[in-house]
């Protein structure tokens, strides 16, 4: 699905990513690489296929869209370097030309040399790329830039007659910012309370749907 946002055309993919065509930029958020391994390290049994699935989805996205830049708006790495992160390193080496940019989130706490080794350009607070500001959590004050953020893992509930309801992850367009869905499948949802003028695009197994 293609939407207009601040005069730019954005493609919303059902794989929880945004493609900014003019910049050939694939935008994702909350990748949480290494989350499953981090859990395993603490004695909680999470299958490691979870992390691999995320990378496979990323691969097919990069192939599907002509991608020069992969931008992650925070929480790329869940905790620290571990076997999952190594799998990412291996993935990274297969795409040497791809530029990977990270705007740091609350989880991103790798050492600078680790990012360097992974070939990731890091922005500590935000990245301005008119008309957008890429930032992990929405800023306190708004200006002329439209913010593209993550952090929240937004979800939306669709209600029907006869008290039916369904829950999905979503792209959440508020007045001053777009909240991206969490990319990783090993993440939960926070149901967002809509305010006047908010737009929601629910991500169903088949497609992206305006609600």
């Amino acid at each position: 699905m293609i939407v207009e946002c601040s005069g730019e055309q954005l493609v919303l993919s059902k794989e929880r990513a945004v493609y900014w065509r003019r910049e050939k930029m694939l935008i994702i958020s909350d990748l949480h690489i290494g989350k499953s391994a981090h859990f395993r390290k603490s004695g909680i049994q999470v299958p490691h296929t979870v992390g691999l699935t995320d990378l496979q989805r990323l691969t097919s996205l990069v192939k599907e869209y002509l991608t020069e830049v992969l931008l992650v708006t925070g929480d790329m790495f869940h905790n620290n370097m571990n076997s999952d992160a190594n799998a990412f390193l291996e993935w990274r080496s297969r795409y040497p030309v791809l530029k990977v940019v990270l705007v740091k989130g609350n989880h991103d706490a790798l050492k600078n040399e680790d990012y360097e080794a992974l070939g990731i350009e890091v922005h500590n607070k935000e990245l301005l790329c008119a008309p957008f500001r890429f930032i992990h959590d929405k800023p306190r004050e708004f200006d002329s830039y439209y913010n593209i953020t993550g952090h929240v893992h937004p979800g939306v509930v669709i209600y029907g007659r006869a008290r039916q309801q369904l829950k999905f992850p979503c792209f959440y367009f508020a007045e001053h910012c777009l909240v991206m869905p969490a990319f990783s499948v090993f993440t939960g949802l926070k149901i967002v309370k809509p305010e006047q003028g908010d737009r929601f695009y629910a991500i169903t197994p088949e497609k992206v749907l305006k609600v």
């Binding site: 603490s42 299958p47 076997s83 669709i158 029907g160 007659r161 006869a162 169903t204 305006k210």
Partner: protein, 897 residues
């Protein structure tokens, strides 16, 4: 007699009456009888029976009504045994003589010699050391473990036992160990275990999670599971089974000649023999059931409004009748008022105070979310008679003996006969007193339930408690518990676990899956190098990481609740706990009630809600999540009969006379189903098309039946329903007309192809997902945190639903996933009961009524807020239709403006 008994190893049998017992000649018996006599007490026959069987080495189950000294039937048995041993060390040998042949069979012949040596050794030693001072050194330590399901019971039990020990001049200490026990007390116990330890199943596991526990049980004589019927049907029962198996195993490994008796105390339940089998599954012990031949007198009375119109058709509060409660409270010494939920208790407390200000200071509120010091104070005040009435939830259901309580009130349906009788027994606690219970209906139809319960109480038609089996989550938790403690040998523990009732059917491959799950993190071929939990150290499986051990100890237990957060006054002092989700709705300055006080929310600090006393008189009560209890089959059947009797006036129940006008109203707008009829109501309103059916089988059966019928209707055309139910019937609601008529109704409720249709119809995934919530917590996948304790590691937060998805997608053979489905199928679906209900419906005359307004019968279902979805449409279709509807609504709204 000795001979015949030893020939049969494990038999259930009743003692043949009144033969003189060798026990009666023993000095311990005489001493205890002397003591009882001095207090002008005489033991009941079931008590002396229990003493006799105990003395002969039996394990078993005592079944007696409350208030007749169940505790003494076993505690004094242990005391007598101890006194006899002290008076005559030779005697101790003869007492354990009878089971010896069995032990030999079990352990093997060569042990016979060892045993003889040991016995001689023992005799020699005790011969030399008759003085009590030396005795202490030799066999001080745990003699008796007394398991109680509730912490609140422990204090009173300990008090009673200490009294006995003091008056009989025994130097035993009686200790309590549970979540409320202060840390220094626990440390003291660690240095020197008391002779008697009163403990909860959770604390037993915590004990096993400590280092070098194996020494504690060396001198253990007996484990008693008090209120066993309460534990039996839950995973806490499984915890008790496992802990007993371990203690028995530890003792056997060190002292194979010593006899460990296992006894239970249970109220009357439908499956008492099975209850014994679950508690004592071991073949190498003698066991028996001792049933008290005493009946407790109970008077049941319904509180009736002045007119039927004063009672609402639906609802669960019932406070319209509050004024009727006041005279009852004043007439009685102390009244316990039982409600079904904590929220309801808070509301009733406020309502009663608002009705009569004189009750201030004389009325208290007691439930599980109130701070335990406050609860202790309330319990103390009930004992001293300082309180006139206490509003409570199931937190006061069990055995504490409150002497001043002479009246009990039950608000709303208790859902089952056993629960009602248990609560009734809280009044008139001492023998031969009459228990008095008032039933206060919260909506009109509950009056019929009152009549039904009276009948069930009369005929002693009491429910069974199904024991929980194959709960892998509890087993996983238990194994990690052992690994956190001294570590375990997998072959030894497999052998022990396999002996328990809960894991009798455990397969070796399931065992090895579980072992892999806790050691390597999964059954997949990939080696998870970084996985760390349980690993082998010096031949034993242990947890090495201190952090993992700490986290595990914090969440031992099987009661899963939503994240709770403590409430504290700004000036100090805890009030209780509320759910985190409730707190998130609070703003500074907003008010809520807890423990009967109106509190003003100030802020959350360090995972604590800080409050001050509010100036307001009333405020909203927090809602605590909690399962809803379903009407039992027993009660359902009697209920149907009562419906019949009401209309034909073939009864002596004043409740049914009273409710007759409502039935006449129902008869006018629709129909009152007779015993051999099955009523269906089709009602069309602006909400959509409603389909109501009334099988009177309880919420749980209705849930499945509703899904089944929805599925079968869905085969006729793609259609989505939302489902609601209560204990009387269920509703299917759809936005499309429902393809249903006289022709197909019987086939919709047909018992043919039942299993296949159930599997296809119920949203098994959804049900399993719900069940998985507890499983994930118990097995340690999700750390729920402890009330008021900060979850230190935010990086490890996740939800059970997430794990459910992940396992479904990436680890299909996960046993915990299978358990979730099994629990959904066996506990939720109750297929035999469903089939029986469908057969009954087939034989009934179907009455279909079409109307355009809600009827008295359907109204309680309609307002029920717990709803489910059932759909035969494709997901994408549903989404499109729902969004289109929403769109339509929006455009309509715009046009309206």
């Amino acid at each position: 007699m000795e001979k015949s008994r030893s020939a049969k190893p494990a038999v259930l049998k009743k003692r043949t009456a009144d033969k003189p017992l060798p026990l009666e000649k023993s000095s311990g018996y005489k001493q205890v009888m002397q003591w009882l006599k001095s207090g002008r007490k005489k033991p009941f026959k079931f008590q002396t029976d229990a003493w006799a069987y105990y003395a002969e080495g039996y394990s078993g189950l005592v079944n007696a009504p409350t208030g007749f000294g169940k505790t003494f039937s076993l505690f004094l048995a242990v005391v007598i045994d101890e006194l006899n041993k002290r008076a005559d060390p030779e005697h101790s040998n003869t007492v354990i003589k009878s089971p010896v042949p069995n032990l030999q069979q079990q352990i093997g012949k060569d042990l016979k010699e060892d045993f003889k040596d040991l016995a001689e050794d023992f005799n020699k030693k005790s011969g030399n050391t008759k003085k009590t001072t030396n005795r202490k050194k030799q066999d001080a330590g745990l003699k008796l473990i007394w398991i109680t399901p509730l912490r609140s019971l422990a204090k009173d039990l300990a008090r009673a036992m200490r009294e006995v020990c003091e008056e009989l001049q025994m130097d035993w200490t009686v200790g309590v160990r549970n979540g409320d026990t202060p840390q220094n007390e626990k440390l003291k116990q660690k240095k020197q275990m008391p002779e008697v330890l009163i403990i909860t199943p959770e604390s037993m596991h915590l004990l096993l999670a400590q280092k070098s526990t194996f020494n504690y049980f060396e001198h253990l004589q007996c484990i008693v599971a008090d209120e066993w019927h309460e534990l039996l049907g839950s995973k806490r029962g499984v915890m008790a089974e496992l802990a007993i198996s371990r203690i028995k195993g530890l003792l056997k490994a060190q002292h194979p000649e010593r006899l460990l008796r296992i006894w239970g105390i249970s109220a009357t339940i439908g499956n008492i023999e099975q209850a014994l089998d679950v508690l004592v599954p071991y073949e190498d012990v003698l066991k028996t059931i001792i049933k008290a031949d005493i009946e407790k007198k109970i008077v049941i009375r319904s509180i009736m409004p002045d007119h039927i119109d004063m009672l609402p058709w639906a609802g669960h509060l019932g406070h319209k009748l509050a004024h009727k409660l006041l005279p009852i409270i004043y007439k009685s010494k102390t009244t316990l008022i039982f409600t079904n939920t904590r929220g309801q208790a808070e509301l009733w407390y406020q309502t009663l105070l608002a009705k009569d200000e004189n009750l201030a200071g004389l009325l208290a509120i007691h439930h599980g979310s109130i701070d335990h010091e406050l609860r202790n104070w309330i319990e103390e005040s009930i004992h001293t008679g300082a309180l006139k009435a206490v509003v409570s939830t199931s937190s006061l259901d069990l055995g504490v003996d409150f002497k001043p309580v002479d009246t009990v009130v039950q608000i709303g349906s208790p859902k089952g006969v056993a629960r009602f009788l248990q609560r009734a027994g809280r009044s008139g606690h001492s023998p031969h007193e009459t228990s008095k219970i008032y039933f206060l209906p919260t909506h009109a139809l509950e009056l019929v339930e009152a009549a039904a319960i009276k009948e069930a109480a009369r005929t002693q038609d009491i429910e069974s408690r199904e024991p929980v089996v194959m709960s892998f989550d509890v087993l996983i938790q238990y194994l990690v518990t052992l690994a956190v403690g001294d570590g375990f040998d997998d072959e030894q523990v497999f052998f022990e676990v396999k002996q328990t009732h809960a894991f009798r059917e455990l397969l070796p491959q399931e065992w090895s899956w579980i072992m892999q799950f806790i050691t390597t993190g999964g059954d997949s071929l990939t080696a998870y190098n970084e996985f760390s939990k349980v690993s082998k150290v010096d031949g034993l499986w242990k947890v090495e990481s201190r952090q993992i051990a700490l986290r595990h100890r914090l969440h031992i237990g099987t009661i899963v609740s939503d994240a709770m957060i403590k409430v504290k006054y700004l000036t100090g002092g805890f009030v209780g706990m509320v759910e985190e989700s409730f707190v998130s709705k609070m703003k500074p300055g907003s008010n809520f009630t807890l423990a009967g006080r109106v509190l003003e929310f100030i802020m959350i600090k360090e995972m604590m809600v800080l409050v001050r006393k509010s100036k307001q008189k009333t405020a909203m009560s927090p809602s605590w999540m909690g399962g809803r209890i379903s009407l039992t089959a027993n009660l359902g059947a009697i209920l149907r009969k009562k419906y019949n009797e009401t209309l034909y006036k073939q009864h002596d129940d004043e409740e049914l006379d009273f409710i007759l006008p409502l039935f006449q109203r129902q008869a006018k707008v629709s129909h009152v189903p007779k015993d051999d009829e099955f009523l269906i109501e089709l009602i069309n309103t602006k909400d959509g098309y409603h389909f109501f059916a009334y099988p009177f089988e309880g919420r749980q059966v209705h849930e499945i039946m509703a899904s089944l019928v929805a599925y079968r209707l869905g085969r006729l055309k793609p259609i989505t329903f939302s489902i609601a139910m209560n204990d009387y019937g269920f509703e299917l609601l759809s936005e499309q007309p429902i393809p249903l008529d006289e022709e197909n109704i019987k086939s919709l409720f047909s018992p043919d192809d039942l299993s296949a249709d159930i599997i296809a119809s119920i949203n098994a995934t959804e049900m399993a997902r719900r069940k998985f919530r507890d499983i994930a917590c118990i097995s340690g996948l999700v750390f729920q945190g402890y009330p008021g304790k900060y979850v230190a590691n935010k990086h490890l937060q996740s939800s059970a639903a997430l794990f459910f998805n992940v396992f479904s997608d990436y680890d299909k053979h996960n046993l915990l996933l299978r358990q979730a489905y099994d629990e959904a199928f066996y506990q939720q679906i109750e297929e035999p009961r469903l089939a029986a209900a469908l057969h009954r419906i087939q034989a009934s005359k179907v009455v279909i009524v079409k109307t355009d307004s809600y009827t008295p019968l359907c109204f309680p279902i309609k307002v029920d807020s717990l709803r489910d979805n059932m759909s035969s449409e494709e997901l994408s279709q549903r989404i499109e239709r729902m969004t289109a509807e929403a769109e339509k609504k929006n455009t309509r709204k715009k046009n309206d403006r």
